[in-house]
Symmetry: D2
Subunit: 361 residues, 4 copies
């Protein structure tokens, strides 16, 4: 389905080559000042054509807010919005009508629905993720009132990986380079790799890391609404994502429990903190007040500027070579999408906790 969330939720619609892409943000708390600069900035971060590393498509991605905002504040009513599709080269896709692109959604949509909008991937296009950035911007506005900050950055491209975790970097540096990596030297090497891959008509994947700071303890709903389960569903709903982990993740499986537990210690202010944070800020599915850390794996996108073997809709062998303008590496543009989905998820679970917290007192 096309709705994500329980109390704060995004319903999205739109195909890459239809009239528009948009959505409805429901459950936004009322009275929050709408920060249009923040909204535009998030859209600009996701926008194609933002640097030499991304697709050359130029899309303004101007968001039109249709409801739910009055005199500069949210009203509690649903926020309808849309972005008109422009600069479409639909003819680039004519050749797709009768074949299935390898490792795209062409075949599965066709099988499931019996027909498909073949232009630019239709509903399966990553262009849909712009709706996440709109909803994410509103979630960030609400979370900002609570002092919660969601940050993501590119931590790996191909086999070039940042050697250390987020505590070793100034994360604001990530926004100063086209790759969105917080280490300038690594960023330069990543950029060079992307350029090489692009020149070869190929693509490359990578990892986006996320950090949420300032999240109060208590966010997350056992048993099936665990914070990590909701975050995972959020991230795995992004195009090209193949894996999700939090805290030590897959790397932690080879160690021992005695090396990984986080000892509780007094925080010096009458409260409790942990001496380490291998848990990634979540215990028992609920935030513990420490930084929440997670990683998201993106595969190399399937669109290659090379000839590939495939079959036609009627099952005949054929070959296919992508036309059009495509990203050789989605990581730079995926960073704001990861942030958006994390913000949406966190606000939703925060509101669920708020609904019942301290009720019995």
């Amino acid at each position: 389905m096309n709705t994500f969330g329980t109390l704060f939720r995004l319903t999205s619609f739109g195909e890459s080559h239809g009239p528009a892409i948009g959505g409805v943000i429901d459950g936004m708390p009322a009275g929050v000042v709408v920060d249009m600069d923040l909204l535009r900035r998030e859209m600009a971060r996701r926008r194609p054509g933002q640097s030499a590393l991304t697709t050359a498509r130029q899309e303004a991605d101007e968001v039109e807010l249709l409801s739910g905002v009055f005199e500069g504040r949210t009203t509690g009513a649903p926020i309808g919005f849309l972005v008109r599709n422009g600069n479409q080269h639909s003819a680039d896709y004519d050749s797709l009508r009768d074949l299935f692109r390898p490792s795209h959604a062409d075949y599965t949509y066709y099988n499931k629905y019996g027909l498909r909008d073949h232009r630019g991937g239709g509903r399966s296009s990553a262009r849909e993720t712009l709706t996440r950035c709109v909803a994410g911007a509103f979630a960030k506005m609400a979370l900002g009132r609570l002092g919660v900050k969601v940050t993501a950055y590119t931590s790996q491209v191909g086999d070039i990986a940042l050697p250390d975790d987020y505590t070793h970097y100034d994360l604001s540096v990530a926004e100063t380079n086209a790759v969105r990596c917080p280490d300038a030297g690594t960023a330069a090497r990543m950029a060079a790799l992307i350029s090489d891959v692009k020149a070869a008509g190929d693509t490359v994947g990578g990892v986006v890391s996320g950090v949420i700071t300032g999240c109060p303890a208590g966010v997350g709903e056992p048993v099936f609404g665990r914070l990590q389960a909701e975050l995972a569903a959020a991230m795995m709903s992004i195009n090209a994502v193949k894996g999700f982990e939090y805290g030590l993740g897959f790397a932690g499986v080879s160690g021992r429990g005695s090396e990984q537990n986080d000892a509780f210690v007094p925080d010096g202010q009458g409260g409790v903190t942990t001496a380490t944070n291998r848990s990634g800020g979540i215990q028992g599915g609920i935030s513990n007040g420490q930084d929440i850390t997670f990683r998201v794996a993106f595969k190399p996108v399937a669109t290659l500027l090379r000839e590939q073997k495939t079959v036609t809709v009627s099952g005949e062998p054929t070959t296919f070579r992508a036309q059009g303008r495509h990203d050789a590496c989605v990581l730079p543009r995926a960073v704001p999408v990861v942030e958006a989905m994390a913000a949406i998820t966190l606000l939703d679970l925060y509101l669920q906790d708020r609904a019942r917290r301290n009720f019995g007192e």
Copy 2:
């Protein structure tokens, strides 16, 4: 919340040291023959005390079906069930009342709810996962009618990992050893490692791999109900899980798109198949008819038979040493839980697809 699923769903309840653990299975298709042997087998696979490698707790885990079954078939009505808690050594947990065990849910529950049932982890106990196995057994009964088979196995314990993917093993071998690894030699090494770790009062993690065969194309709902997103949420809701990936997963991020695409080829019967299956059986969030493959990372469990530093409920430093009977490695018992959650997820999405498939024709 304590409900998982849309059309086929499990609502669970119960604490490890309360009177019972149970749940309600809603949306089970009517008329399916109830295979009680299958149900008992799944429970036995998850049961504590099943081998020298697992906790010595002996729990019969006899499932009582309370509704929804009549004369050996499902009726379409919800299936209520429960398992009485027995063999409880609640006194083992008296010392937990006033402190927070490191890397457990003690602190986060206390913060969220203002009080907690401290006995055996209460609601956060992995004993809750038995409800997944009950619902999973019914999901398997329904999926069996479709020829869908869900299999999981232990592919890594600590740093001992199976070198190859599932196509290189006879997966039925997994059920012939206590570790549930399909390679007897590797299983023996894993068992030895678990024994060593247990003797040291420590714990160790690992990876469970899953394979779904026979799944028709078309299962999975774009955009937010992607099959991988629902599977991820399902797996990340299991205690001790830290990561999820499908297809090539995290390993695929360092390769190139040209190395990872799955070329479509005629299947020789008028249909379409893929020459390779790096996608893990899912494209665009929808099953493509190939085997669905995924991996789930389990951390070393937090309960150590060693002294650890922590704080009391009032924030004073103290130390803690677990009493009672615990698993040094949850992997063997996690295998059926992973299968159960996969089966529940798949049946739910299958029914969603079935609701609308071929409607317009």
Copy 3:
């Protein structure tokens, strides 16, 4: 489906002649003192055999709480519960196996599911409503902390109707007679009517009226979560209910707007109240702080101790005469069910409002 509610919800299971009926209450706020007397009282009000007016079936309806309560308080974990079915005269129903009782759910269940548990109506039995009373009792415990009180009473049986609205009666009188009507004289006439109808092997319907006092303004979610929409769904889910109205309801359609508007006036304490309450306490789908009033129509139940024409499962004409012990009028026992569903609905919407209220300040 068998779940009602969003943040506070009941999932129910069970057939009248299976082992047990029960459910799971999810989302109960933590820390609320569990009032077992209240719970038992609610069960006793719904219990068969409570007076000469109701069915002679004697069922203890002892509720067993299985989870979610610790040391006398709710923990925030789901509350599993069950009531064992006893005193079953299943043989009374043998004759039902092969025919469809008129105006019962026999045919529709059989059509929908392809098979049915014919004993005592199976899942369609009103015995399921005991789960509402359990969940309603917990909702009342939570609402009690807020000063919200939910009261229902029998206002009509057959054509004997209370002439005035609730403001003219001492509603506590309703619990002093078997009919649950707050006017003793009218109650006596209603009781006589029920006795007459029962003696004739017939049945009679009526109206239950509900009043919610102390509800703060702001409860109810526009547009589809309107308080009246959720109340209506709640009431229409009760067996034998044929209609729902609030405020002036159907009677108001023939008047004029100028006669029905509720003028706002200062409440003398700096706030706002209304001079009249024809709106029934709800405006725009949201409570306005006045008493919430509604009415629920119950048909005469379909089980007659008379011979009726019907058909067999294979479509052959036959006749049917109910055996067993049945209510000639469900109104007295429906009163606590109506209260329970109102309490569940109100708490759910209250929590939804609480989640976002005053967020932007």
Copy 4:
């Protein structure tokens, strides 16, 4: 919340005086031919200014489809749509900024959200119901493939009521008069009453009756998803609705069970039908294959062209007289909205039944 439905669902957004009103239709089966004439006809039936009896506001209500349709068929992707607001006389509403209109949602929205868009009722405006007609049109397209037909008509205005049920009229006559009443003589009297009331600056209510023909048996989900419960929630979510009943409804409470049961009889084709249809086509929450009948009570709308007492936002007494163009009776324009909500509800439950039907065979 602003989403209705489970498998087929409408999410709506928009205020009467914002840029646009629109929504997202999710779960529409793929491959259904889009009947744009049907869509335009439904919009025209709800449109203001359609006759002398309705508000003089002239709104074109041109629907723009933004997604989910390709080459004249639905694709299975969500259908985003919007209607631009035009012909707004926002200045008509300036006087509302600082006061609460009697029996409107002004006060409750203000209390709930802390601020409100006062122009034309904002989110509480009945203009939102146009989104129901769009989604309803698509639901009708799908239901049309099944032979299901949803029809509503005005059966009462003020105290002028049709004397007989739908079987006595040619329902197509309803669309030939401005009141939408299937009896021309009664329609004329209703029209005269509305004109009189309008001339007096007053308003009047009425009843819309609905009939669903061709619905197969088996639609509706016990226990909480009963067809009548979902229909009730659907209808009670429409502005100005105060009551819902089906079958004999409130009128049936005074009769006897022996007078109201519907005897099953052979249908002459090997199946089963009922000799009468007092049940209104639903038994046990599930359609039985007979016509589904229900009635919806609309109050006289609250907007009067007369002076009324009220209070300001700060609680001071004041008076208010509505400006602008308003309906003296909403019934004629409510008919298509009732049909739309019925169609949406029915398709949703039909799909839920389809998901599991005949699974076990």
